[in-house]
């Protein structure tokens, strides 16, 4: 009875990267750190409280950038899923799964920051307004996608099934958004929107925050992608080792 052991030898000719960092991302990371510190200082200390919202507006410096950016990784996931079905390469698969992960982070952050803001200004964590509701459903759609990615062992089957669900993410999100918006617009309740006029040093603080979050999005996406890609390669590496072992197997009982 043979056992299959995977040794950590590199495939001939390959140098296995040991981390997902690179000079570019390290520089980016430093910029982000610095920017975050500046942003936090500006946001928490030097910028003025809003006339209406007072200090709650400080949450905006997180919430607005996050919410404005979150659709990017979602769309990226759908696009990558379509491309995977066409090209069937690991790169697209890794892009799809990593964008979904990043998207989930951003959407989650958006929900939490929005809920906190709601608690401070309106006294409730949740209102069934259009944006919050569709965002919550979007979050659930993404969680479903991520749950799906954990399952089948065979990478090709998993990639294929995830691709279909990934492609459906954007249409689903659009349908949800449209129907929920229409629904809430029919209600005479105050559609309690955000007061988006800002001026003076609020604007500059916001600009810094937006910039920092864009960089965070990029940085997270790069790392997540590399991570996913490396994981796929590791699976493939195991495969080559397994084939070699099987061919060398002289045991009469064969197989596992």
């Amino acid at each position: 009875m043979t056992t299959l052991t995977t040794t950590t030898t590199d495939a001939p000719g390959d140098v296995a990267p040991t981390s997902t960092g690179s000079r570019a991302t390290r520089i980016l990371g430093i910029v982000i750190l610095v920017g975050s510190v500046i942003g936090a200082y500006l946001g928490l200390v030097t910028s003025d409280p809003d006339v209406i919202q007072r200090d709650a507006v400080r949450l905006f410096y997180v919430h607005v950038p996050v919410v404005s950016l979150m659709y990017i990784p979602v769309t990226l996931c759908t696009v990558a899923s379509i491309m995977w079905l066409r090209k069937r390469s690991d790169g697209w698969d890794a892009l799809a799964s990593s964008s979904a992960e990043v998207a989930t982070v951003f959407v989650g952050l958006g929900l939490v920051s929005g809920a906190l803001w709601g608690e401070i200004t309106w006294g409730t964590y949740w209102t069934w307004d259009a944006r919050l509701t569709s965002t919550a459903l979007l979050f659930l759609l993404l969680v479903g996608y991520l749950a799906l990615r954990r399952y089948p062992a065979e990478p090709a089957a998993r990639a294929k099934v995830s691709a279909v669900v990934g492609i459906l993410l954007v249409p689903n999100a659009l349908l949800v958004h449209y129907s929920v918006s229409w629904w809430r617009s029919l209600h005479q309740d105050a559609t309690r929107g955000f007061d988006t006029s800002m001026d003076g040093n609020q604007l500059s603080t916001y600009a810094v925050a937006q910039g920092v979050f864009v960089l965070i999005l990029v940085w997270l996406s790069i790392h997540a992608f590399r991570n996913a890609w490396l994981a796929l390669q590791a699976e493939r590496g195991d495969l080559d080792i397994a084939i070699a072992e099987r061919m060398a197997d002289d045991d009469a009982t064969g197989g596992i």
């Binding site: 659930l140 479903g144 749950a147 294929k160 669900v165 229409w182 029919l186």
Partner: protein, 222 residues
């Protein structure tokens, strides 16, 4: 393709007739839901009456989930999926056939649920035309999305909890639309009802399209 669809649908419905899982389990489940809602929402008829459309559609959704899971559990008999792939049946036809069978079961379920709602909640069925149109559109939408997501999870041997997680958020617009349309109908003033119905129809068409598009890929092992 249509011949294959008819073959598959016929097979599914024949299985249903023989095994009577639908009649024996899904219908009672649906009625049970209605009763439980009644318990949870207090005999105060006012609440129940106002909530009737929503409760009805939630019951349809959950019973529909059962129908979808049953539809693919049937294919889980050893060797059947392989034999299906080997038979050369057109995947699009397979999708349509499964979709049709699920839709038929949903219709039967809804007939029972309508009776249940009339009897248990004292609903008055105003605006029957809109109600029927809504039911048809929503049935198509639920059956199409259910079949698509159902086959996804069926192939993965993790059926039970994954299908609801994938399907229900996607069906949220259907729940919204069907409930609003039904409310409009029952309130007498038709208002936005037909608009919502249109949304349901669009959803249904979209998902049938997706199903036809993706079913072939999904059935393959790679």
């Amino acid at each position: 393709m249509l011949a294959d669809a008819r073959l598959i649908a016929g097979k599914d419905l024949r299985i249903e007739l023989r095994s009577k899982v639908g009649l024996g389990q899904m219908v009672p489940f649906a009625v049970l839901l209605l009763v439980l809602f009644g318990l949870a929402l207090d005999p105060d008829r006012g609440v129940l009456t106002r909530a009737t459309p929503g409760l009805y559609w939630i019951a349809v959704l959950f019973s529909g989930l059962l129908a979808v899971q049953r539809a693919f559990a049937v294919e889980a008999a050893p060797g059947v999926t392989e034999a299906l792939r080997l038979s050369g049946i057109d995947p699009a036809g397979y999708f349509l056939g499964k979709f049709a069978a699920v839709a038929v079961q949903l219709v039967v379920l809804q007939l029972v649920l309508v009776a249940g709602v009339v009897v248990l909640y004292g609903a008055d069925l105003h605006g029957p035309l809109l109600l029927v149109a809504t039911a048809v559109a929503a049935t198509v939408a639920i059956a199409a999305a259910g079949t698509l997501y159902g086959v996804l999870a069926a192939g993965l041997r993790v059926r039970d909890t994954l299908v609801p997680l994938l399907l229900l958020p996607a069906l949220a617009p259907v729940l919204l639309g069907a409930t609003r349309a039904s409310e409009s109908a029952l309130d007498g003033g038709v208002g936005d009802g037909w608009g919502w119905c249109g949304l349901l129809a669009a959803f249904g068409v979209l998902y049938v399209g997706f199903g036809l598009l993706f079913f072939g890929t999904l059935l393959e092992e790679t």
